[in-house]
């Protein structure tokens, strides 16, 4: 039996110092908690997209065993299933509400939102690369104030938990933003984009440095009681150190990973292909990096990890779960097929049945080693 790890909410989370390696807690499978489900937490009115309540357990038509897909991300944020729409592809949700049955998503992460409106980068903003897409939108968004005004009323009607993705160049900006989210109905949590330039740190992204991350997450933690998710970048030298800093500073969950900075050359070879010069690599090209980071982070922290990067099929979902992701985010693949996250959730229930497990938690962490694996900071060739 391979090591499996689940975090039980409510259990005291032991504090730890980065230098002392603690033995992993025993395997604690999560049982579906009665009375706590997103559909009962948020009052629901019938709308075209959110008409059917999100099923937390799915019973096979031919009398198969029910499968529990519920995932607890801590601080009361319980997802009906582990497949969420990652930040970006579904915008603020309202744009695709008539096309996608949002109520059947595990969660919806909004597009990156900043304190002031941003008009984004010059065109072209996307270009296709081998097995992926290079994206340089430049955080075009109407600003937190307008976002809450335009979209939050719809979020409050939906049953799907909406997690607001926030970007800012200082902890002051981010603290200001989370304070505005406090008490707004329809907001289930906050995701902090750590790939933002730190104005005080010479413009180096927070997520590249464990200490900058620690002070940022701690400041935001003090300002809000909402579930707080920190989104790591794989560009950090040691993602484990950054992940531990997030956990120690009070993040309830960690999502990994954001896009990786990349470059494409224009067809006429006269310069970069994108108006923004650099773009974020997303799509299947990102999957091995995401697997590596989730694998490392899941061994380093006890908070749940949301695996994001290159998910396009059920096999990608199962791979990320196996390396320790408690939930999985679908990114650029949802552009071509907005219904994909919902379909993956259905396929995940089938995959559980096919493997004879009754809860999706049993698929989590099956590929993690019993003893901590050496860090990738040693370089791939020297890892053993």
């Amino acid at each position: 039996m391979k090591a499996r790890r689940r975090v039980v909410p409510g259990a005291p989370r032991p504090q730890r110092t980065p230098t002392v390696r603690r033995i992993k807690p025993a395997i604690r499978p999560v049982t579906p908690r009665a009375g706590v489900s997103p559909s009962s937490a948020v009052p629901s009115t019938t709308s075209s997209a959110a008409s059917s309540p999100a099923p937390s357990s799915v019973v096979d038509a031919i009398g198969g065993r029910p499968v529990s897909l519920e995932v607890d991300l801590g601080r009361g944020l319980v997802l009906a299933n582990p497949v969420i729409a990652a930040s970006g592809p579904l915008g603020y949700g309202t744009e695709v509400a008539e096309l996608v049955d949002l109520a059947r998503l595990g969660g919806l992460v909004t597009r990156g939102t900043t304190i002031k409106p941003r008009s984004g980068n010059a065109a072209p903003r996307t270009t296709e690369i081998a097995a992926g897409l290079l994206v340089g939108v430049g955080l075009q968004n109407p600003g937190i104030e307008a976002v809450l005004e335009r979209y939050a009323p719809a979020w409050a009607r939906w049953t799907v938990p909406v997690i607001v993705n926030l970007c800012g160049e200082s902890s002051g900006d981010l603290v200001d933003m989370v304070r505005r989210l406090e008490g707004v109905p329809g907001i289930a949590g906050v995701e902090l984009n750590l790939s933002c330039p730190n104005a005080r740190g010479g413009g180096v992204a927070f997520g590249l440095d464990a200490e900058a991350t620690r002070s940022l997450v701690a400041a935001v933690r003090r300002a809000t009681d909402l579930p707080l998710i920190a989104k790591l970048t794989a560009a950090a030298a040691d993602v484990r150190a950054v992940a531990r800093a997030c956990e120690e500073a009070g993040a309830d969950a960690i999502s990994a990973i954001n896009t990786l900075p990349g470059l494409a050359v224009a067809a006429d070879l006269a310069g970069p292909a994108l108006g923004s010069v650099y773009g974020g690599i997303s799509g299947p090209a990102l999957k091995p990096v995401a697997l590596r980071v989730v694998f490392e982070v899941a061994q380093a922290v006890d908070v749940p990890v949301i695996g994001i990067g290159g998910v396009a099929t059920i096999d990608d979902v199962l791979d990320l779960l196996a390396v320790g992701a408690a939930a999985v985010g679908v990114g650029v693949a949802a552009l071509a097929d907005p219904m994909l996250p919902v379909r993956l959730a259905d396929e995940l229930a089938d995959a559980c049945r096919a493997r004879g497990v009754t809860q999706v938690a049993d698929l989590v962490g099956t590929a993690l080693p019993r003893r901590p694996s050496p860090p990738s900071t040693r370089g791939a060739e020297y890892a053993r």
Partner: protein, 284 residues
Amino acid sequence: MRPAGAELVEGREILPGQWQQSWHAPAVVSGARAGQYAHVRSREPGGFPVRRPYPIATADPASGTLTIQVESGSRFGAWLAAHRPGDRVDLLGPLGRPFEVDPRSRHLLLIAEGPGIAGLRLLVDEAIRDGRSVVLLYGAASSAGVYPSSLLPDEVEYVVATADGSLGRAGSVGDLVLEYEAWADQSFACGPPALLARVAALAAGRRGRLGVATLGRKRGGGRPVAAGSPEARRKAFLQVVLGQDVGCAAGTCLGCVVEGAGGPVRVCREGPVFAAAELDWGLE
């Protein structure tokens, strides 16, 4: 907008590297208007992460078929052009906002270059059906790239310019515009950005030629209309179709955004048709 399976009825190479494909997709064809596009998805393993937009070149509600024009030079185009009758693809549509033709317009000037003809082709059919007279100005590099007149209705006056002078007028299609613009009530363009910028510069500040119809009205009269609304576009002298790639077509990814006169606009939702005055052409 709804996802629909589409089945290839016929594909033929109408020009070197240009395929005209006829797809059976009744759900997309019904209600399709000129200027709108269909979004095609590839299911190639390890293939293309996003869909590609193709203007609906013709639509026949009776048979439920639409045609698109595919360039086989690109990787995606080669994949799509290789389909055989009976093959199916995932096709989303009709998407985007259509052309808005002023009901009083009698003379329509259509300006296309190269594959841009596909963006205007359905407008030709609609205008002829509505009894308007149409002049189609078409530009290509040489006679080998000239859109076959046999694929156009007989009622269209088809004027060709080629860069090497091998067919029609020698020069660019932009030169022809100067001769015809005084005749036109409204004009519509689709082609490379350089052509669109040139015709937009010609049309800048120009109002419709509908002098007779506006006689007796107070100057500046009528309700003010919001820029970008169908009413405002109906009054615009020049409308253009932008042919750039569109990521999600739902307005969420913001990958297709271009600079508008009043801030960024999404080609997939506010477009692909724009009144020329809505876009920032960098003229000043």
